[in-house]
């Protein structure tokens, strides 16, 4: 008994990056503690993913059942309860995704396991588990410890660890057939995806944002191509909307939308205060010809130069990095 249990998460037949990230961290901890890593894969028709997981865990436990085709916490909670009671791991790791947020607290409460959510790291030293979690909009980190228990649970924020690994463990795959009860009161109806053409810049991780400096609507193509290259979304400052070069839904700023991307590439945006008010967090990169443009006061990185010179070259550099 014992070991580290990693709950694998997948969508549309693909394992999420966060699962690989957690497995990587688990492998490191496994090395220092000797705890074996078991991945749990629950779903329907997930065999192919199990194969992949096997390379990264000592063991893969697979529950393949039509009732698990769509995530339903009632069902997942009960299935995982069974597995956990059976395997009695010392540590359960789950991604702090919307699913993890939904499942982990219920599971932990159900099993009375101490749970720390939204962690970015954890360690086991001298048999003692401590975790680092974010608080206060990520401005403060907390090191947390746990009261003594046979088992602990930690949810880890996506992006906390690297996805890449050199491990190739070739763990065993164990299929478990369980009696899976139908959910009692939650019915999955369907999944919907945001309609095409509907842009929500508030949800974008990468924003290529363009300002007055673009000069004309016809020049937008240049930045649209850059955004496409980066897999990002095009946004803009107010003057661009005022000139009807881009629709209002693309506007960042106090009268537009508040965004919190990972990367914000401000091109030809002087960085009026009103614009910056809509910008919360993320790495800000500015390209502007005016070295005194206020955008440079808030940017993490900047290039002082004419966007029409910089952007085409930048596009080539990015292509070469892909």
């Amino acid at each position: 008994m014992g070991g580290i249990l990693v709950i694998a998460e997948h969508r549309k037949g693909d394992l999420l990056d966060v699962t690989w990230e957690i497995l990587n961290k688990a492998a490191v901890v496994s090395e220092s503690t000797g705890q074996r890593v078991t991945a749990v894969l629950a779903g329907f028709n997930v065999r192919a993913m199990a194969e992949k997981l096997a390379g990264r865990a000592h063991k893969v436990v697979v529950v393949d059942n039509p009732e698990l085709a769509n995530y339903n916490y009632e069902v997942y909670r009960d299935v995982l309860t069974g597995i956990i009671k059976n395997l009695r791991p010392v540590l359960i790791l789950i991604g702090h995704t919307t699913t993890g947020m939904d499942l982990a607290p219920a599971l932990a409460a159900h099993l009375n396991i101490p749970l720390a959510t939204a962690c970015i790291d954890f360690s086991i030293e001298d048999g003692k588990l401590t975790a680092i979690r974010q608080m206060y909009n990520g401005k403060v980190n907390a090191r947390v410890c746990f009261s003594s228990s046979d088992c602990y649970m930690v949810t880890l924020r996506p992006g906390s660890f690297s996805v890449e690994t050199e491990n190739a463990w070739g763990g065993e795959i164990q299929s478990i057939s369980l009696e899976v009860e139908k959910p009692s009161g939650i019915k999955f109806i369907r999944s919907v995806e945001a309609a095409l053409g509907e842009v929500d810049i508030t949800q974008a991780d990468i924003l290529v944002s363009v300002g007055q400096g673009i000069g004309d609507k016809k020049n937008l193509q240049l930045v649209e191509e850059l955004a496409a290259l980066l897999g990002g979304t095009l946004s803009c400052s107010r003057p661009v909307v005022d000139k009807k070069w881009l629709p209002k839904e693309r506007q960042v700023g106090s009268s537009g939308k508040t965004v919190k991307p990972k990367v914000y590439l401000a091109i030809g945006i002087s960085g009026s205060f009103q614009h910056l008010m809509g910008l919360k967090g993320g790495t800000i990169i500015a390209i502007n010809k005016d070295p005194r443009a206020p955008i440079f006061r808030v940017a993490d990185y900047g290039i002082v130069g004419d966007l029409f010179q910089v952007v085409p070259v930048l596009k080539e550099k990015i292509k070469s990095l892909k």
């Binding site: 007055q212 003057p239 005022d242 000139k243 106090s254 009268s255 002087s270 009026s272 205060f273 009103q274 008010m277 206020p294 006061r297």
Partner: protein
């Protein structure tokens, strides 16, 4: 709603309106907005459905420039009716999202930008300004204004005023992080309760600071302190008045020439509403080398920049040419190098307009204080 309507009719003397339309005709947004201030006066008087009357997005188009009120031959106050209708929306909670952000920003942090109160005085780091809330004393209080405190462009104006006051040997202090929004825009967005709160808080600060006189950067602060705060005995001055008298008293002398063609944009809150027309012009004309050219539409006929009435925080329902753009184009046509003004909102809107009209490089927008500092 009948009672509210009766109240409005009494409060704004709506029965006296003879529908001459001087208000609509002078309204800077009437050509591009559905907002028809004359009709609004009538609708409130007659409409059985008051809800339908004020639940209109154009109610937020008004810039509260007050032209309607100042020119009303019947002495009525149409712009105050608009503010009151907004306050009904505020009570219902149904106001534009950006207005909510601004008002909550003021409530929580003391400024409409929602910036941290603890950073209010950051703009003056290193300037060693006396803090009148922390034991320093001075006869004059320099009221910063939220825009000066937080907007990087306008911060330069605050710094310029510090330079000017020091050059003239004026002893002054600030309220540091304890200063709160003057409430002018808050009141105009219809948040009467919050305005009262702010005016009480600020007046208490003024009283405890031991000053006799207050100088403001923004005409909006100036106007509300002077005309809207509960009765007080502080002398309220806009900086243009103070700087003008410093020049007249010989305490401020220029050593450099400014060989530029300059026009001046009258802020509504300073000019139209408070008749401070001459002092800013005197200051500009006192600068050696300046060639001063008037806008055709100046003084009482000055064009509003559309920055008042909470419009810095609310997107207008009306599209169409921005008035500040008309200003920028006129200035280019006049062949001036600089549009000078004396209000942070005007400055920001005009600067924006210079860009959006593609006139960057042809002319710049400067605050009078910046011109003064350049010529010291």
């Amino acid at each position: 709603m009948v009672d509210t309507r009766t109240e409005l009719i009494d409060r704004y003397d709506l029965t006296k309106c003879f529908q001459c339309a001087k208000c609509t005709a002078g309204c800077p947004v009437s050509l591009k907005s559905v907002l028809n201030i004359r009709r609004l006066m009538r609708e409130v008087l007659l409409s059985p459905d008051l809800q339908g009357t004020f639940h209109k997005s154009e109610i937020w188009d008004c810039t509260t420039c007050q032209t309607c009120t100042l020119r009303c031959p019947r002495g009525l106050k149409p712009h105050e009716l608009v503010i009151n209708l907004r306050s009904l929306l505020v009570e219902e909670g149904e106001i534009p999202k950006t207005a909510i952000d601004a008002l909550e920003g003021v409530y929580k942090h003391g400024n409409p930008w929602g910036r941290a109160r603890s950073k209010r005085s950051e703009w003056s780091t290193g300037l060693n300004i006396k803090n009148l809330t922390e034991g320093d004393t001075a006869p004059l209080l320099f009221f910063n204004c939220c825009t000066t405190a937080y907007d990087p462009r306008v911060q330069e104006i605050g710094k310029a005023l510090v330079t000017v006051l020091r050059t003239a040997g004026v002893d002054f202090g600030c309220l540091g992080n304890k200063e709160s929004c003057c409430g002018s825009e808050v009141r105009r967005m219809g948040e009467t309760g919050l305005f009262e709160m702010l005016s009480e808080d600020n007046l208490k600060l003024f009283q405890n600071s031991g000053v006799n006189e207050i100088v403001t950067v923004s005409p909006h602060c100036y106007n509300t302190f002077k005309n809207e705060y509960p009765e007080h005995s502080f002398g309220i001055k806009h900086y243009s008045q103070l700087v003008n008298s410093l020049i007249n008293e010989g305490r401020l002398k220029f050593s450099r020439e400014l060989n530029r063609k300059i026009t001046y944009h009258d802020p509504c809150y300073l000019g139209k509403q408070n008749k401070v027309f001459d002092e800013p012009r005197n200051v500009i004309n006192a600068i050696p080398g300046v060639t001063f050219i008037e806008f055709d539409r100046s003084r009482e006929r000055s064009l509003c920049c559309e920055g008042g009435g909470g419009r810095m925080f609310i997107e207008a329902s009306a599209s169409g040419q921005r008035l500040a753009e008309i200003r920028a184009r006129d200035a280019v046509e006049m062949g001036v190098d600089i549009i000078a003004t004396s209000c942070p909102f005007c400055l920001l809107n005009l600067e924006d307009a210079v860009k959006t009209t593609g006139n960057e490089g042809k002319l710049v927008v400067r605050d009078i204080l910046e011109l003064v500092v350049d010529a010291l």
